[in-house]
Amino acid sequence: MEQKDLNLLDAVLGFQSYGNKANPWPLCGRFVLVEDCVDTSAAFVLHHILKRCFSSHSSSAVLFLAFSHPFSHYDRILRKLGCNLAAQRDNGRFYFLDMLMFQCPDEGKPNHDGLASVFEKIEKVVKALRQDKKFFSIMIDDISFLEVAANGSSNDVLDLLHYCHMLTSEYGCAFIVLGHKDIYLNGERPALILEMEYLADILVKAEPLATGLAKDVHGQLMVLDKDMQREQGISAIKIHNFHFKIKENGVECFYPGTKV
């Protein structure tokens, strides 16, 4: 496996020794919540994980639920990162569900069942995938648009998230979600984002640089790893803080003050 361009983010997410027999896919059975805000987008974390998915095992696959951008957008970005999504799609390793126009039926309607139809789509793909792909990931590119599609019902969103969480423990797949923190801050009780933070095994949080704008640093990342009692026992919460700089063909991560 290519090990040369691993950065701090990879190390923190456990990608430093993946791809071998012992550690085929480090995010197995884990729920990764990526949180960002208006000032600092964390979409690059999704792109990064996506790229890692395809550069690992040949029996890994991704199911991508796109609520905010079309396929061509991701294809263009991933091409810059050295990964051909269209080819992966043709290989059967990348399943792209275009949910841009998706809208739940209103509550009063007879066929109202929350987001059960979305889960049905996911499970159909998952069942097809698990025949020959051992390690797969489910990605949702924007939780807030999912909430819009669910007519603003955060409870429906949480139901769907619960079912996806269930898939991670049942099939050992990874589940990666991007959400926006700041749009929930004004509510009297920002339940959705808090519930997601409880659910998450790994929380990746992107923020603008605390000390103000800088040319060479685009923001700071906090990665919180709750390694709860998966089979190997209980361990503590680990926190990593570092800075990042987004480049055309990747992202550079470094500890504060260590950039040359």
Partner: protein, 378 residues
Amino acid sequence: MRSSGKMAESISRSLRDGALEGELAPILTIKDSLASPFASHVFSHILLQLSSNVMAQKSQSRGIVIVALSRSPSSYAALLKMKGVDAASSNKLFHILDCYTDPLGWKDKIGKSGNVMDHSRQISLATSAYKTVKDMDKLFLAITELGRGLVGENKARFCVAIDSLSELLRHTSLQSVASLLSNLRSHDQISSIFGLLHSDLHEERAAAVLEYMSTMVASVDPFHHSADGQRGYFENSLSEQNFTKGKFNVRFKRRNGRVRLTCEEFKIEHEGISFASVSSVDGTAIAGLLPKVQFNLQLSEKEQIERAKVVLPFEHQGNGRPIQIYDGRRSLEENNSEASPIPSGKTEKSAMGEIIYFRDSDDEMPDSDEDPDDDLDI
């Protein structure tokens, strides 16, 4: 090994002893917040303690019904296996009501025909699926039915563990969760109930309602309260950090209404969670109570030793010397052996001259800082 503190032990003890004749079954609520999300560790700890008591037949209950809402049944199987509970006995002691895999019946709706793959992973624990989590009356019936299945129809009792009261509150209303708990605790075959609550997900009244019904409330708090009272670990800027510790506050309600509050420390270790009493000697207990101030209110060890050496004026009583209590009027001429700087000044005093001060009256306070010229009228 797991050493448990006194409080964690007494919680386990009172869950073990269960309901007294003519009283409701005790309820334990374990609550935490995002700043210290370790309640599930406490939950597992209590579950394991109770199960070892049940296994040794030391407890009132003969079995445990686990209502799994936020963790998969297989994770419970793994937990029990890791702690050396063998499958044969665990099948007789535990029954999991699985509200995790399909709480709303979505899977059922989709795969009516071929759901063969779902149970491919064998779980060593007895598990029953439950698919209508929004219906609390049905849930009550399901729990009691499973319990009866475990312990039989007679007077034997069982214990109920609910791994997320928060999840229940999300699916239904506060009233229906309260009535579920109230029905459970008055059921004559239930010996004790414990559940987990993420307190910051709900309104304060939700936590209050549940705490009213609980005999014990164990709350898992971060060690240091940050300025705004939340987000314990989010605010640090260290590049790498591990969080393993916190405070374990327990509120114990006695039948006569007495409430006991205690505070312990917990630490997450590889083998599990361990509790230790906060030793008040080293001052950490006091440190936790004091608000954060900019100057140092604590004494270092050396300072404490030195402070202990200082003999206070009234402490001379009883060692043969005349009892002298300084009342602020005359200086204690004889008291010259102990304290260092003042007596050394005193020995030279006779040569240097002295200040003699007569107080005007006894009404005046010894060290009054009143302006003596206050009533001067110029």
